[in-house]
Amino acid sequence: MRNKKTFLLIFFIFIILVPSVSGALRELHEGTKIEPFIVVSLSGKSFSYHQLSGKKGTLIFFWSTNTKNSTKALEILQEKYSVWKEKGLQILAINVEKQYFSEDDIKALKQSVDSKKITIPVLIDKGLILFDKFGVIALPSMVLIDDKMTIYKEISGFPLVGSQVFFDEVSIFLGEKKVTETKIAYKPAKQSLLAYQLGLRFEKKKDFERAVEMYEKAISVDSAFVLPYGRLFDIYINLNKISSVKNILSKADKSLLKKPLIMMNIGKVYFHENDLVNAKKILLKSIAEEEFVDVFIYLGFISYIEGNISETERLFLNAVSISNNSPEALNKIGRFYALKGNNLKANEYYKKALEEILKTKGR
């Protein structure tokens, strides 16, 4: 009888855990602890995080050879590498452009790295496990991790102003620069973070009602934690509940409204209300600090409506490039063209999205 009870208990715990075992950190955010991971060098050797990490901290640089900002950022990091390394910061340039690298792919990558005289360790994320675990949303992305394996600072894309601020933060972290005003990486309240992570799990299972509940809880516990707002706005905008977004914005602290993520969503609201002038204004403001894929997509929508086709394509290509050809970005653009009756263009993007999906499935 006792054995039966134990077996039942283990079985039900397993059942509860199995669906969530594949759950992972969906987005980069400060204050969370990372799990140790394995990466592979260009010579095929596997290394654990602990073998590679720096004494004071580690800067993980997610990049690909086919995003122009990646190359620019890598060259800038190379310039800073020797100084930062001496101060205890290790940089790891993790290439995330393919799930599976053939011998020819590795050869090409080696050639590209050697031609730029890169001495930063260049590694491969086999199976794009880290890409998924960290929830990388734009390329390049940089994650600064302290010696306790906690994310200190992160940035998506390589925006002009935002990237400079990020490098300043790294300098402060290493003690190169003094903090003129208190600039501590924001750490949300534990309960808020937990509620947010639960919200992500519910969202992944398409249980949007519960996800909204959790994000609202996260905000009520810690109204300065930006990420739940972002997810909440995304859900409401997808469900066309613009009034719900406006309601939350009206109650939010004014300082929050200056955050790039919030500005992006305000821009989306303006767009959905056909106020293209204000939408464009605020989207351009947010992009100066952080390059979110959706900002490029929405600016592309606006350019198309304004009749500027070449600018539209440029913005969409940018979005696709920094998102590393994400099916989500390609699908959004395809849907827009389909709605506008441009089925040829829609099919172009839909095919690319499906090809990316099938690439990861192997056939």
């Binding site: 039966k4 077996f7 039942l8 079985f11 397993f14 059942i15 199995v18 599976y100 053939s102 020819d104 992944k204 398409k206 099916p327 989500e328 699908n331 395809g334 849907r335 389909a338 089925n343 040829l344 829609a346 099919n347 839909y350 095919k351 999205a353 499906l354 090809e355 999906i357 099938l358 499935k361 192997g362 056939r363």
Partner: protein, 159 residues
């Protein structure tokens, strides 16, 4: 003891994959990758290393894929048909035969075969992708859009 067996069976059904598709067999992924980059000789070499008896279905499908990309549609159709004899519910050979029909400009037969594949596995994204391609080639642009959208819907609902 009965309870243990019952729970193990339940666990089995939770963990098993619901359809057989080469896409789920990552050990053959590297052979598919070789075909994609046109390294047919290497792909055939890797194929010959596989246990021909244990992997008859896979060997036939991949042999068919190689024949198809080389332009030998009759041989490809032969291998796909053999694969279907081994596994009548396999969607890879059905997709392959559809592509052979499309290559021979028999669009109706190609569509028919893909619709059969959808009946077997309505969640296989690749079918909608191939159908969309064939529809586009036959200038059914709007229908192609619908097919691509269905494939993407399957992906986003599954995610």
């Amino acid at each position: 003891m009965k309870w243990k067996i019952f729970f193990l069976i339940v666990l089995f059904f939770i963990m098993r994959k619901s359809d057989f598709s080469l896409a789920d067999n990552t050990e053959f992924l590297h052979i598919s990758e070789l075909i994609k980059v046109k390294k047919y000789t290497e792909a055939e070499k890797e194929l010959s290393k596989l246990n021909q008896f244990e992997n008859r279905y896979v060997v036939n499908v991949i042999s068919a894929d190689i024949s198809f990309v080389k332009g030998d549609f009759n041989k490809a159709e032969g291998y796909y048909t053999k694969a279907l004899e081994i596994n009548p519910l396999g969607i890879d050979p059905k997709i392959g035969i559809a592509k052979v029909h499309a290559a021979r400009k028999d669009i109706n037969k190609a569509k028919e075969m893909l619709h059969e594949a959808i009946k077997i596995n309505p969640h296989a994204i690749r079918i909608y992708y191939e159908l969309g391609f064939i529809l586009e080639a036959s200038e059914d642009i709007k229908e192609a859009t619908e097919s691509f959208e269905k494939g993407l819907e399957k992906y986003f609902l599954r995610k």
